[in-house]
Structures are given as structure tokens and as C-alpha cells.
Amino acid sequence: MATTILRTLREGLPDRDQVFEHLYSQHADRVRGILFRIAHPNDLEDLQQETFVRVWKGLNLFRRHSNVKTWIYRIAVNTALDHLRLKARRPKEVEATSSVESVDLKTPEDALVHKRRVQEVLLSLEDDLRAVLVLHLFENFKMNEIAKILSIPTGTVKSRLHRAREEARKYLESQGVKL
């Protein structure tokens, strides 16, 4: 009896580990996408670890009636936003990479310049706008799913997406990109 209890304690909760491994295999790629585009790409691995540690810790507290997918992506978004707030380095990143001037890029380095520009656009957006844009555009979530993940009304999601698009357009046009 005592041995069984000790073994259970030592191994943690076996069910929890199995559930976690399943969740990890199912959602890791999308979580990485969210973290990669909302926070800075260089911090991806650390943020992924932070997100899944939060998921693991929260599994016991997770409300069963909630949608597990929504819950995990909410943790990912919050981890990315927390990280940005903590570092508060977004202006530096934009400043450091905002010297791209070429408009019609046709050299072999074009792709790299475009990638940097997309990164700049994303980093230039406010956090809440970027979160909506990333979830909608890159992770293909529907409006109602984004609303659940961010705990905001669907109407707010739509208005934020509209604002994100307008700000991105202004930024790209200011960089000489013809749309």
C-alpha cells in the first residue's frame, strides 16, 4: 500500500503525463507558430518551453468544460505577450531593422529583405493587434475561435483585425512597397 502511494508520488500523476504528451504532439506546431510571430523569433525555444511548462502545471486546474485547444493557445498568446512586456524591447527591434529601403527587390537577397520587412510590420503593431493578426492570418483561426482564445467579443476581433490591416498597409506603403 505504502509502496504504491510512494510510486504514484514519485511518478507524478501518470494520467497527467499521458494527457500532456498527447497535447504536446497535437498542438506544439501551432503554438510555435503563435510564439514565433507574436514574440521575437530568437526567443522561440525558450517561450515554447515556458508555454508547455505552464500547460503542464495548469493541467490539474484546467476546467474540464473549457475547450482545451482554446486554453493552450491562450496560454501561448499570453506567454508571448508577457515576454514582450517584460523585455519591452520592441522599439529597439523595429529601429534596428527598419533600414530597408529597396522597393522592387530582384536580387537573390530579396527573400531575406521581404522576411525582415514582414517581421518589422508585425513588430510595429500594438500587441493586441498583432495577436489577432497572427492568429487569423498565419494560424488560420476563425473569428469566434480568436474571440475565445483572447477572451474578447467577436466584434472586437474584427475591429482589431481591420486596424491591424490598416496599420500594416501604412507601414508597408511608408517603406515603398506597392500593394
Binding site: 506544439a28 510555435r32 518551453q49 527573400a111 522576411k115 492570418l137 490591416r165
Partner: protein, 116 residues
């Protein structure tokens, strides 16, 4: 209306966005090592707190029982002891009074006999 396909801003962003790096084995290894560490911490905390909590509970129980018993004993013992002390004092005082009275009586009798 699918804004993602039609909107030029979205098209540009999607077309040129950098691909998300593939999962790295070393990062996954680190993650699961971290989780193992957390499990170990949980186990150690549990191992520490279970005996500490149990000992504290037993100690509190023992002290409470002792306190209650002591209180009960005091409640019963105090009046008896007080009565006994009072009784002893009265007996002693009465004995003294009696002795003095007897001595006086004897003395008076002696004087009376001498006068005769």
C-alpha cells in the same frame, strides 16, 4: 468574403513571412527534462510536507487533550483543596481556643482552690 486571399496587405504578409523553424530535438529534450525536474520537486515537497503536517497535527491533538484534561482536573481539585484547607484552619483555630479556654478554666479552678 475571404479577406486573407483578396487583401493585398494580407497576401504580402503571408507570401513573404518567414517559415516557422521546425521543432528541435534538443528543445524537446530540455522541455521534458524540465518537466521531470518539476515532478521531482513535487515529490520532494510532498515527502517533506506529509510527515511535517502529520507530526504537527499529532502534536496539536496531544497538546489539546493534555490541556483539556489538566483543565478538568483543576476544576475538580480546586474546591476540595480549598475546603480542606478551610476545615484544617478551623479545626486548628478551634483546638487553640479550646486549649486556651481549658487552661483558663484550670487556672481559675486552681486560684479558687488556693483561696479556699
Amino acid at each position: 468574403m475571404n479577406t486573407k486571399k483578396e487583401d493585398p496587405v494580407f497576401s504580402y504578409l503571408k507570401e513573404h513571412a518567414e517559415a516557422v523553424p521546425e521543432r528541435s530535438r534538443s528543445a524537446e529534450f530540455q522541455l521534458f527534462a524540465k518537466l521531470k525536474e518539476l515532478r521531482e520537486q513535487f515529490f520532494k515537497k510532498t515527502l517533506l510536507w506529509v510527515p511535517v503536517t502529520m507530526t504537527s497535527l499529532v502534536l496539536i491533538l496531544f497538546l489539546s487533550v493534555s490541556l483539556i484534561q489538566n483543565h478538568k482536573q483543576n476544576e475538580v481539585a480546586t474546591p476540595v483543596s480549598s475546603d480542606m484547607r478551610l476545615e484544617a484552619f478551623l479545626e486548628e483555630s478551634f483546638a487553640s481556643i479550646t486549649e486556651v479556654a481549658e487552661a483558663q478554666q484550670e487556672l481559675a479552678f486552681e486560684l479558687y482552690r488556693n483561696e479556699l
